[in-house]
Every structure is written in C-alpha cells, then in structure tokens.
Symmetry: D3
Subunit: 293 residues, 6 copies
C-alpha cells in the first residue's frame, strides 16, 4: 500500500514560464525512458520479485521514489505553462521568439490538459506498457534498469543545455544526481547477485551447457571489410570468464534455403485460381438478365 | 547496402508441425525483445554511430546477422504451421490436445498470413519502433544492448522447455549461443570504450561535476521497514569508483507543496462557471417559441 | 512524494492457482478501465488541479489508494500462476480442463514475465496513456471518473462470476465495494462543485450564451422510424434546468455540399498528370541504349 | 444500413485559410474525445444495446449525427489548408507569423493527405478503438457518454478562443450547442433508466449486497494532512441514497505482505544459476582448440 | 450528413451461437483490412477528393455502404455470442469442444463488451487510424482500395471455411460478392481516370522527367543466384508503356560510406567523457563527510 | 542470410543542414508508407511465399534493396541535423527562419537520438508491424505492393518540392525512379501471375461461384443524388471480364432489424438492477454503527 506526502521530493520551481521547454520535458515524463517508465518498471519488478528481502525491498524503495519524480516533472510542466499562448496565432505572434513558441509548443497541453502535463512524450506519443520490463529474473532486469537509467540521464543531460532557467536547471541537477545513484545502484546489485551465487554474467545463467557451443564465441563478420576484427574484445577473455570471442570473416550460411511448405488449400495461397476451368466462367449478359434493379 | 543469400544462417526445420508453439515463437520475432527489435536497434545505432571504425563496424556486423535471425524464425513458423487446423471447430476438436491447439493458436497466422509469421508478438501486439533505442551515445546504447540480449536469451530459454521437437530445439540451442556471444560482446565493448577513454561507468560520462552532489550517493528508503539497507551495495565503493552509496531511512521531502498555478481563463479551468450571474440565465419557454420544428 | 508499506491494502490470496483466470484479471490491471488507468488518471488530475484544498486532496487520496490496487492485483496474478503449465503441449494436455487452460492462458505471463503480471489487458494489449483524462476542469473530469469507476465495477462484477475460488472472490468483493465508494464520491464531488458555485451541469459551464441556441435543444431524428421521440427526456426540463429537449423528425442538412478546394499543385492532387503533353514522353528504346548494364 | 446526403449538417466555411488552426482542429476529429470517438462509441453501443426501443433508437440517432460531425470537421480542415505552405522553408518564412505556421502546422496533412484531414489528433497520434466504450450496460455507458461530451465541449471551448475567423467560430458555436444537447440528453437518459426501473445510481446496480460492506463507505485518507475530510461529501447521504461516506484518516493496510511464490524452475527466476557447480565450468582454451575458423 | 435505417443491408442470422467464430469475425470488423478500415478509408477519401462529381460520389456511395457492413458484422457477433460461457472454467469445461471454446474465445467480448463486438481484430489489437489512406491523389488511393478489397476478400474466403453454420455462410457469401464488386469497381475507376486524362499508370503521374532515369528501369539483383532474372517482366514493355525493365546482377553500391557527422557536443555523443581529466575526480570519502544523514 | 556493404546504394549528401526537412524526411523512413514498411512487407512476403522460384526471388531482391533505402535516409537525416539548434530557445531564435526551425523540428531527433533518425514518422508516431501485409497470396499482396509504392512515390514527390538543396534533391530523384521501377514491377508481376495461370483479376481467384451472385455486380447508390451512375464503369465490362457493374439507385435494405439477443444475466446487461426489491435496501445509519474507524 502507498501513502502520499503533499510536498515534492525536490523543488520544481521555474523562474519564468517556457512553453517550448514544457513540451520537451514531456520526454522525461512519458517518453520510453521517462519517469513513468522507471516507476512502472520497478513497481512490476518488485511485485514480480521472487527473492524476498534486500533485493525486493531495494526495488520497491526506488520504485516509490520514481512516482515522486513524475510528480515533480508534472508540477514543473504546469508551472512552465503559466500564461502560455492560448489565443489566436495572429495575436500571439509578435516576434520570432513567440513564433518559435507558437510553432513548437505541445498543443495538447493546452487543448487537452488545459495547461498541464500529459502522459505522453515530447512528440505526443502516449506512454505504453511495452516500455517496461519485469521478467522475474533479477539479473536480466537489473541490466535493463542500468540501461533505462543511462538513457534517462542522457536525455536529462541534453535537456540541461536547452534551458537557461535557474529553477529548471536546479531540478535537473537533482535528477542527474538521482540517475547517477541509480545507475551505480543497479550495477552494484548485479555484483551482489553474483556474490550471493544467484547469477553469473550471462542472463539467464542457465543452459550454457546445452546451448550450441560451436557458435557461442564467434563474431560473424557480415559487414564487408569491417574493422570489428581489430577490437580489443577479441584479445581478452570474454567478460563472463568462460568464453573467448573470435572473428569469422565473411562466413557462409549453415542452413538450407528459406523455403516454406504449401499451406492448407483453404487458406488460399497463390495457387487458388489454378483449380478453375480455363474458359470464361459465365456470361455477364446471362446474369444481367436476372438482376434486380 | 545489403545483399541476401537464400540459405538460412542456421537450419530451421521442425520434425513436425506445432501450431501452438508457432504462436509462442512470435514472441522471438515481433516481441519487445525479439529479433526484429535487435535488428532495428543495431541498424539504427550503426547508422547513428559517430565513431567511425571498429565500434560502428561491430554494430553493423551484428545488425546484419540479426536480420537473418528474423528470417530463421519466420521460416520456422511457416513450417510449424503446415497443416494447421483451418476448418470448423466442430471438425477440428477430436481430443483435448487438438482442443488446446484450436483454443491457443494464433488465429491471425491463419486468417491474415495464410499460414505464415506475422510482425507481432505472441499476443498479437504488432512490433513498433519504440522497442528500440539508438541514442548516439555508445555507452548508453551498449548497456541497452546487453539488456536486450539478456531478455532475449531468457525468453529463448523459457521457450526451450515448451517444446520436445528435436529440430526446434536444435535451432533454439543455436539462438541461445548467439545470445551468449552477443551479451559477452556488448559487455566487452563497454570495457573497450573505457580503455579507449571514450566513456566511464555512468552514462553519459559528463555533468558529474554539475549534478547535485548532495544527492548523488543516497538510497532513499521509501518502502517502510525494508531490508535494502542490508545490501552489500552500501559496504563497498560504488561501481563507478567515485561514489559510495548511503541509505537514508524514511527521508523527508525537500520541496514545497505540489501546487499548480491558475491557467489562462480561456482554457476553462474549474472556475469557468464563476463568472456567470447566479440566476437562471434564460427561460427555456422563451427559446422554445423561436425553435425551428 | 510517496511512501510504500509492504503490506497489501487488502488480502489477495487465492485458494489455488488458476492460470486462465490470471489472464482475465489482466483486464483489471492494464485494461482501459483497469487500476493502472484510475491510478494515472487521478494522479495527473491531482497534479493538474488548480483548486487547492479539499478537491485536490481528495483526488490525491484516491489516486494513492489506486496504486495499491494495482499492487493487490499483480500479487494475485503471480499467485494464480503458481505452477502454471510451462512445458510442452503434449505433456500438459491431460484432459479438457487442462486443454482449456493451455489454450486460453496468457502466454506472455510465462514467456515474458516468468509467471507474473504484465502491464497489459486480457488480450495482451499494453496499457497506454490515452486511457486517462486530466483536463484541468474538475466538472468534466469528475464525470469521467464516475464513468471509469462504473466500467471498472461492471468488469469486476462480470469477473466475479467467472471464478469459484473463495480467496479471489473475497478480494473482488473488496474491489466492488471500493468501486461503489468511488462512484458515490465522484458523484458527490460534482454536487459539491455546484454548491460551491464552481460548476453547473454542463461542462464546461461557460459559453452557453455564445453557443448557437437554435441548436442547443434539438434531438436530430436521423435513424428512421425510431422510438427516441417517445422517451421521457422530451417531457421534462433538461437536467441543466435551462433547456428543454425537442425531437426533430427527419431533419434536413443546414450546410452546403461537402466540397474541398483544390490543393497546392505541388501536393499532386489527382490532376497532376494533366499538365503533361499527351504523346509518348520518350521512347523506351532510346533510353535503353544509354543504360549501364 | 446508412444513407448519405451530400450537404453538411451545418456550414463549415472559414473566411480564410489557417493551417495552424487546421492542425489544432485535428483534436476534434481524431482525438480521444473527438468526433470519431463519439461516432464509433455510439454506433457500437447501439449495436450492442439489448433494450429494443427508445434507448437503442436514441443512441442510433445521435450516432448517425456524429458521423456528420466528422464530415463537417474534415471539410473545414481541407478548406483551412487551402494554399498552405508546401514549399521550402527559406521561401516560406517571410515573417514571424509565417514562421509560426511553418513550425506549427501538421506536416502530415501536407505530405500524407495532400492538404486534407487525417484520422489522428493534434499531435498526429492515430485514432484507435480503445478510445470508445460499449459495455452492453446502458447506465455505465451513459455515464461514459456524458463524460465524452463534456471533454468534447471543453476542448471545443478552448479552440473557440484560438481563432478569430467568423466562419470557423460559427461552426464551433454549432458544435458547442450540440455538445450541450448531448450532455443533457445522456443525463436525462440516466434519469429515464432509473424511472423505468432499469438502473440505480451505482453501475452496475447489482452485487451491492455481495460486496464487502465494511469497505463500501470509507474514504481512505492516504495523502497526509489532506483537506478531503472537510468536503461536504461526508456531511450528506451518498448520491445513491444507500450509503454515507466516512473518512478514514491514515488507515492501516489490511492484507499481508505482497509476496510472490516461486515460479516453475523452467521459467528461470533469479535462482537459475544456483544449480550450477561453483568452479569455472570449462576452460575457454579447451574450447578454443575445437573451434571452426 | 448521414441517415440510418434500422434494417440491415443483408441478413446476419447464425443458426446457433459459436463464440470461437465470433472472435475470428473480429478480424473483419476491426482488423487492418476489416470493414472499419474501408469505411474510414473511403469516408476520408471522399471528403478529401478534389474532383467533384462522379469520382467523389462513387467513393461516398461505397463508403456509406461499408458503415452498414460493420453493422452487419457487429450484429452477427452479438448473436454468435448468445449464451457464451461466462462462468468458471471448471463448470464450463465438459468436453474438448467446450475446452477449445473456453481457451480460444475473445475474453474481452465478455468482460468488456458484455457479449458484443469490439472495435478490435481477432487478437484484440484495437483498430487505428493508420490502417487507412486518403492521400488526395485518386490514382494512388484507388490502387490502395483495390489492395484493401483484395485482402478483405481473402480473409473472408478463409473464414468461409472455418464455419459450417448456414446463416453465417449466407452472410459471408454476400460479403464475398461485395468484395468482388468493389475490386472490379476500383480497377474500373483506375481505367476511367486514365481515359479522362487524369492519370497515367505510375502514381503520381508527375516528375517522370525529373526523376533519375538511369535508375528507373533496373531490377537490382541483390538476392544471390535468384531466378528473378527469368521472369516475363523483363521480356515485355513495362506496364506504363514507357519503360522496359532490366536486371542488374549483383550490382555495386553507388554511394560513399554511410558515415554520420559529429553532433553538437551538448547532445553527448560518445566522446562526452573524453573532456574530463583522467584521474579520480574527487574522493568519495571527502564527500561522505558532508552528507546529510 | 544477409550481408552488408558499407557503401550506400546511392549518395545521400545534403549541401547544408536543414533540421526542418530532417523531420519531414522521417515520413519516408518510419511512416505508414515509408521504407521501413516496404522493407518489412517484402521480407515477410518473401519468407511467406509458397511459390519457389522467380516470384519469391524477385520479392527478396526488392526487399534487400529496401533495407538499403532506410540506410540512405537515416544517413541523410543525420547529415541534415549537423549543427541543429540544441540550446535554449532564447539563444536560438535570431530570426523568423530560425524560429520556424525551432518550432518545427523533431525534438526527439535531438533529445532521444542525439542528432539521428528515429524509427518513426514525421509526427513522431513510431513505425509498427500493422503497416505491412504478407498474406501468402501473391495476387493480393502484389496489389498491396503497387499501392505502397504509389503512396511512397507520391510522398516523395511532395517532399521534392519542400527543399532546394541540390544534394537532397539528387537523392530524391533516385528514390522517385526506384518507386517508378517498383510500381512497374509489381504491375508486371500481376500480369505474369495471370499468364502463369496462378491468378485472375479478383483476389483471391476462388469462391466466385459460391459467392452471392445476385450481389456481385451492383453499385449501391447510398449517397443521394450522386453522379456515380454516370461513370464509364457502368458502360463497359468489369475489369475481370466476367461481370458487368450496374447502379442501384436508392436501394432498400435486405435484412431485418439490427437487434441483439439478451446476454447471459451474469454479464450484467442493462436489466441487472431490475431483480432487486424496490425499497431502500438497508439503512446507511444501521451500517454506520458497525464501521471500523
């Protein structure tokens, strides 16, 4: 069960409105790597976690924090939209800066939300449940969490340069810091899984003996004349400590032709017409006689 | 530019049809972590790569391989569907095993594709471009690639136990191996980035000095009474070697209340009706007189 | 900011697993009117609320409760999936009841989530942000909230008869009660808005004097010979107390033809080819001579 | 069966083109609460209506009207786009007003539709079937209809202030009036359902005796220190006349911990690696010897 | 403007219920090539048509017919669902045929629609506006219409064999006939466009002289060893009468390498970390001293 | 299996950056009729093709070419974005031309992709698998391919006029030519199918004798007073040579009323409340006494 405190986790006060930036911030709310994603990803991972104790509790700690991040960003957006142009184009367009705003602002923040945030990204694409992963396997999911925090921090860093507003920048500096903590945290949790004997390097740490070992170390060189064969990845043991990567230059296919068997005739593959007699089936004139008109 | 060889990268021949498994395999074709995802993710990363040479070439090598994996799986699905029930339920249902198939098969593989694969997952949800990430930052993207290969291998491992067919299992053993190679490869590429001085541990490796350092090491304990404070993650330096994680038990919010300013009156926030005179605006009877009927 | 308590708001313990019902419960998690919808709808409404005090606080109270409902349902799903068939069809299908389960279960709960809930509905369609509304106008949004709770309670009532499990039914009885409370609550809040002079009956309570009053009371009878003219809605004042509905039988259109002007020629409407000279533009043979082969 | 009259239900003639407004109008065509939504919502409700007579006929009357509203809006959009910039940016940008248009117009209206409307909203998100509801329960659906008309009228009211064009405003005044009629109508139909003994206040009007009555009157105070306890909703009988709402301040969870049982080992929860022997499984060097290169 | 007649265009009465087939019919309602698609495709094409007269009127004739086809199918689905299992699995599963139904039926038709059709396809994916095309160019759109009717007729033909019900088959025989008429009609309309001098064979019939004519006749042989060079397409003039197709065996790329320029440094491409000093930036211990705990 | 060549199929070098055009080009990458669509459509058609030899090989030739077209466009986008505004609005907006760019550019190309292309269209809607068709019936699919190439060429032609850049125009001239080739090619392949006796004109060429022939030649005149009856389509034999189209003016429906049967009572159609006793079920006061507070 959850409880709510009316105060924000961290302050979210812009010095002045900026409707164009309000649109860009939507990426951090409802984008594929926005705060709605990490909120839902960690909540579902926590609920789906089968290891009671420190791992599950850690996931729920961070998940609960992330709901508050959506709150901070939604509040920031509403404040950035204060006094945003809601009138006719002709009146609003006084100078190029206003023109840029009128052209570039998120019109749904006005028409649909009345000056508030939407659960969508900076192009207006709605957030959806496929953005998250909660597989029930902690190693696989912690890799995904590192990746999500990395993309989130990258987008925040880009947005950091798209504003001069001291209040906005202060909030973004907090967000950057949290993304740093969380990247460190999920990387540390991966180490912990290994120390606890719950995981190796490859996720899942299973079926390594059953997989086709002829093909578990080769880099297939399918992009002609590439420099991939010069990477250090071929000179050291693989990260899992159990393999050594090798480069196969211009390899040949190992399978037969990619043919497909004939389907059930009632599914009407291409040959469906072949069963008909060749001549004209019937006379249009004949049938025209019996039509209802 | 690309070229195609008619032969499959690896054989994809089932011993006998299995329409129910053909549906499940759709997850590996058009699911969020299926082969269409890694194909498109690596292609767009390669095209978006700003570091010419070994990194870009490696990405294009693997991307090109993955197109061939979609091909293998699509071929396998068509073969698993050979002779699948395409008739009436009454005829088809002879015993419980057939009933399970009739109930559980992907009806769009029959109605829409005529016995072939669809660009969708095992629930029929179409693949979409939001499944991929190509940020232009190699560290952030390599983390995402590890995560994608991990989920892909996990799903393959689960599917491996849902079939007894030797031909299907042989292909899946190949797929498992490739997922192992690719996980090792992207992890190795992350190490290489660090050695080449192109990245640190945190993505992006920038703005660490500008972010709010008061908040770059704390785990906020927001899930009451949790065991997260007992994790080894608090006892060792953080993975980036520059921070040390600390646990804040039951922390207080640092911001003010999450209030939102009044919007432009023309956006009709709640107070829109307050401007009207209290009495009945007009008499329905009055207007009824002038209606067109 | 939010805090989490490890205990569920209400117990969610099935007596025994039921994978088929676990799929159906997904509708209440990630369906258009499931708990993710009301969670996000109320959160965004609360953050977008411009009337500080009782209204905003009420919305946040209910929003916070709803996150806990998603938690209850996700926990229930994981428990209903305990021991669900994860093997081959042939082994699993022992009798018709198992066949129904094998055919009807949500395969992504196994392949993707490893035996847990997904942020999707009972057909596997992912939840998305367009399911919610947070317009910034409380009257309009409270109408939407009543509607959401009504659909939610209706679906819960239907699901209530699709299980015999005492533990599941106990949880659903709790859910039904909460849906009743919330319907009453939003209906009461609408009354409160009226009493506080913040809204009328029509949302938004504005522009009533500017709208085209010739057309603000007529029911257009466009479905021939219908009985709609016999409804009591024509015999009493309209619910807003300011209009009286009237029936227009077989009305005529008031506008002109639905024509569209010619677009810019560079957009290539249909006439694009008319500008070309009539004769054969060039000889294929001529050009064949200069081709690179 | 349907029939079409070439004339518009109401005139849709702008005085002059306005491509920026043409984009905004898309919200009323293909937005979540646009005319495509009410068209399809009422059509499916009508076809799904199990009460023959006045209710079903009323729904079909309004549904049929709404198709004509999409027609009016699509016609208006085509006319607003007459002469819209279809050339290079450099040529088009003469002054800030044009810059706003070039920046803010819907580029798909030009590239994809050649100067016409699209079945999408003002951000280009395509309309989809999840926007509608047709549950087969008239009370629940009429609540949804009131909500849809309220959001539609609210968005229309906002758009009304974003244009000065007399022709556009005249059409919008008609649309506002129709939204008022329809809100009144669905509210009246709810009253009629009650008078006919077909419904109560809570939808569905069933299972009230089976639901958990301990929890059918309490407002859970989960947002700390809130003013929700001061609302008039606690001082009067609930709208259904059968309950009285009460406020539970800072309530405790009633369930146990949100734990999840271990899944089938073949689904590879986190412990999958625990079954392996601790030492290095095999020597990379050994295998390197047998590789094909 | 539209009008509705309560009678169906053609009868839609099954002899007996069949919930499994009711799910499959959803493909013809809300699938990518179902009746909702052709309805909306033709409506938007008609409204977007810039050639007043026979073409526009024809499109509106067919569009209006198609709304009635959705009506027929939605009615058929409701009737096929009469008495569908709405109870517990255990009770419902009496024999394999019932098991197939319980496993394979569309659970949303019960839970969401209460025994009615949904605006979705046979996998539950909601219909969306991207399924349609209305480009404003009649030649391009008529090609799309032929394609849509062809896929629609193909799916109907497949479904025709999946039922034995005389009533269902009678309706499908009508649908097949209408799809035949419409294919003929759009093909005839293409001929008419040519005769009226409004179009050629290639859409759009413009820019043929500006396009790169070195490359307007070659088939690039990129799939090694293929038989495409043996097709009759190379032996006759191309269908537009102005080109002659030629086969380029194993062609070489004509462009340079697919490189991308360095982005703005503030977008944090990969080199972002390179600007930092190599050594440890600061001591974790130092900062630990000043943390708030 | 596929192989990659680092060189582009054709050059993709703009003379100078143009971020606004970079957004518009997204339509050709990830739009419904962009290069991702034809790539995936042809790949799945090839893999699903049941006629080994020239047809399948042709499809794979063209499919393989199209992957390279996505590559060309993605490269072009990255180059058009070189130096795109990535800073604050205030700094960027120097003049109206810049304002148009700032307002109209694709912000996700900056925030999400770091100056690269996204797998989305010009409104930011992600590409999805429903854009393609691969039915297993070559006639039906070749019609769809003609339609796709026609829309693609139309959009390319429109974009051709939206830029003055010689490098961009050179690439578009190549693209236009390829779209011409491919339209000719699929039209020629349709002729070839007919000559090979594999198809007729109507797809599928089956069930023509079983369909309802009373209704296989009539154009239903449902749009009052239309000119469709004057089209040449009624004066000549239908394109399939077996029918003759006729016009039915103002036809009557042939079916009965569109009624729906009562659903299972447990699905709670509207009558659910009718079973309850009329009086007040219980006293709120009574229950208030036993509440937990």
């Amino acid at each position: 069960m959850f409880r709510h405190d009316k105060r924000l986790q961290f302050e979210a006060k812009p010095e002045k409105p900026d409707p164009l930036f309000a649109r860009k911030l939507q990426e951090l709310i409802g984008g594929a790597y926005g705060e709605m994603t990490v909120t839902m990803q960690y909540l579902f991972q926590g609920w789906n976690c089968r290891v009671e104790g420190k791992y599950k509790d850690l996931i729920m700690d961070v998940a609960t924090e992330e709901i508050g991040h959506v709150e901070m960003l939604a509040t920031m957006v509403a404040r950035l939209l204060e006094g945003a142009p809601a009138e006719t184009t002709a009146e609003a367009v006084k100078d190029p800066a206003v023109a840029a705003v009128v052209g570039g602002m998120d019109v749904q923040q006005a028409i649909v939300s009345g000056g508030g945030a939407t659960p969508a990204d900076s192009s207006g694409t709605p957030w959806n449940g496929k953005y998250i992963v909660a597989s029930g396997n902690l190693l696989a999911d912690f890799y995904a969490n590192v990746a999500a925090e990395a993309q989130g921090r990258l987008q925040t860093a880009r947005l950091y340069h798209m504003t001069d507003d001291p209040g906005v920048k202060e909030m973004l500096r907090f967000n950057l810091a949290r993304d740093t903590v969380h990247q460190n945290l999920w990387l540390a949790a991966i180490e912990e899984l290994k120390e606890d004997g719950l995981a190796g390097t490859i996720a899942p740490t299973a079926l390594l003996d059953e997989e086709n070992q002829e093909h578990s170390e080769t880099v297939w060189g399918l992009s002609a004349g590439g420099a991939a064969a010069q990477g250090g990845w071929l000179r050291r043991p693989a990260p899992d400590g159990e393999h050594r990567l090798r480069y196969l230059d211009d390899p040949e296919p190992l399978g037969g032709p990619a043919s497909a068997p004939p389907p059930d005739p009632k599914l009407y593959g291409t040959f469906d017409g072949a069963h008909r007699a060749p001549g004209p089936r019937r006379s249009p004139t004949d049938r025209a006689a019996k039509t209802v008109e």
